[in-house]
Amino acid sequence: MGSHHDHDHDHDGGSHLSEVELRVRALESLLVEKGYVEPRALDAIVETYEKKVGPRNGARVVAKAWSDPAYRRWLLEDASEAIASLGYIGRQGENMVALENTDRIHNLVVCTLCSCYPWPVLGLPPVWYKSAPYRSRAVIDPRAVLGEFGVTLAADVEVRVWDSTAEIRYMVLPQRPAGTQGWSEERLAELVTRDSMIGTGLPRTP
């Protein structure tokens, strides 16, 4: 089986389906024949995670927290409810905690044991988040990992790493970039990257 970096260049309808592609198709037709899955239900699941859920949700949470002090307090005290109030609910995000980055504290989220990730606000995790290099080194050498994302923090910043070992899902509330006074939430949300909400990146600057 190939690694995830071997892109199929003749996927749908191509003549050289990979072995894994053939085996997955065989399993799906078996499960359909057995009456265990409904293909339209599978399509609906894919559609949800490919089109509807993603890091733009989290960006709206962050932009609102940057704009509205009461919402920010709520997010930091009860992230599950504050996030649900914007309609972002569901699997892998039922119990949320928001971690506030400051001038002195930088938070970074990892799951060393598998791939736990807050799906309702960030979507499905990127390959690197699930990869051995990230899972192994984030907890021991986070500054080197940050360097691989092009992020360098001042020496006096306290780097806190959060290992998602249970069903609590963490998201980082990054610092609002300077020079954004008076910006609308919509405009602020454009500055919020997925990685800035994991802690491997910083928001874009205007």
Partner: protein
């Protein structure tokens, strides 16, 4: 079980390779594997902890060499076989030899509600919490042969309770089919120097620990 999935602190896997503008899926079969796992999970024939345990039981070399969705694919096959939902020959041929069992199948009209679930692992506590924020604790030095969510790197290390998360399904028993047995869950702050000595660039690592993983100190 002590095996390769417990990766925290390993140092020979190379550099992280972020992909610019990464797509949600890299191959069409990944979409189907994700969806089949979630749809079969919705039938409640196994729980999330049994699903995780099934991945951890892969042979170490296979675990490390497989991509995420390859692991999910193999895990699903194992669980289907283990529960007697399919026969090995059926998997081989991709064709049913006998009718399927009657399951509570996830239908398309129920997908949105199933994915919008708001209740995962939190339960009514069975007893008062043993610890409060600020309490000094030590992670137990345990090495169960079965599923656990206490990483190796913090076992037998001193820490401090940072957050009390309420009572949650206990993965160690739930993975064995021995019941949810809800336990208090805490975010425990471990000073990085206590975990790694001088060989770290972290200040602290926070690990979500169930009460049975912890002792007072």
């Amino acid at each position: 079980m002590n095996t390769v999935h417990d990766m925290g602190g390993q140092q020979n896997y190379g550099a992280v390779a972020p992909e610019a503008d990464e797509p949600v899926f890299h191959h069409d079969w990944e979409r189907r594997v994700l969806a089949m796992n979630l749809a079969m999970g919705a039938t409640k024939l196994w729980n999330i902890d049994q699903g995780r345990a099934a991945v951890e039981k892969l042979p170490p070399a296979q675990y490390v060499a497989s991509s995420y969705y390859e692991k999910w694919f193999v895990r699903l096959q194992h669980l289907l076989l283990e529960r007697g939902l399919v026969q090995p020959a059926e998997l081989e041929e991709g064709r049913a030899r006998e009718p399927g069992r009657k399951l509570d199948v996830l239908t398309a009209d129920r997908v949105a509600a199933a994915l919008a679930n708001r209740r995962a692992s939190e339960r009514e506590p069975l007893s008062a919490a043993r610890f409060a924020a600020g309490d000094r604790v030590r992670a137990r030095n345990i090495h169960p042969r079965s599923h656990t969510r206490l990483p190796l790197y913090c076992r037998d290390k001193p820490g401090t309770i940072a957050l009390v998360h309420g009572a949650h399904v206990f993965p160690d028993t739930n993975a064995l089919g021995a019941g949810e047995q809800p336990q208090w869950l805490y975010a425990v702050r471990f000073e990085a120097a206590d975990l790694w000595g001088a060989d770290t660039t972290a200040a602290a690592v926070y690990v979500d620990c169930f009460e049975p993983y912890l002792l007072p100190r």
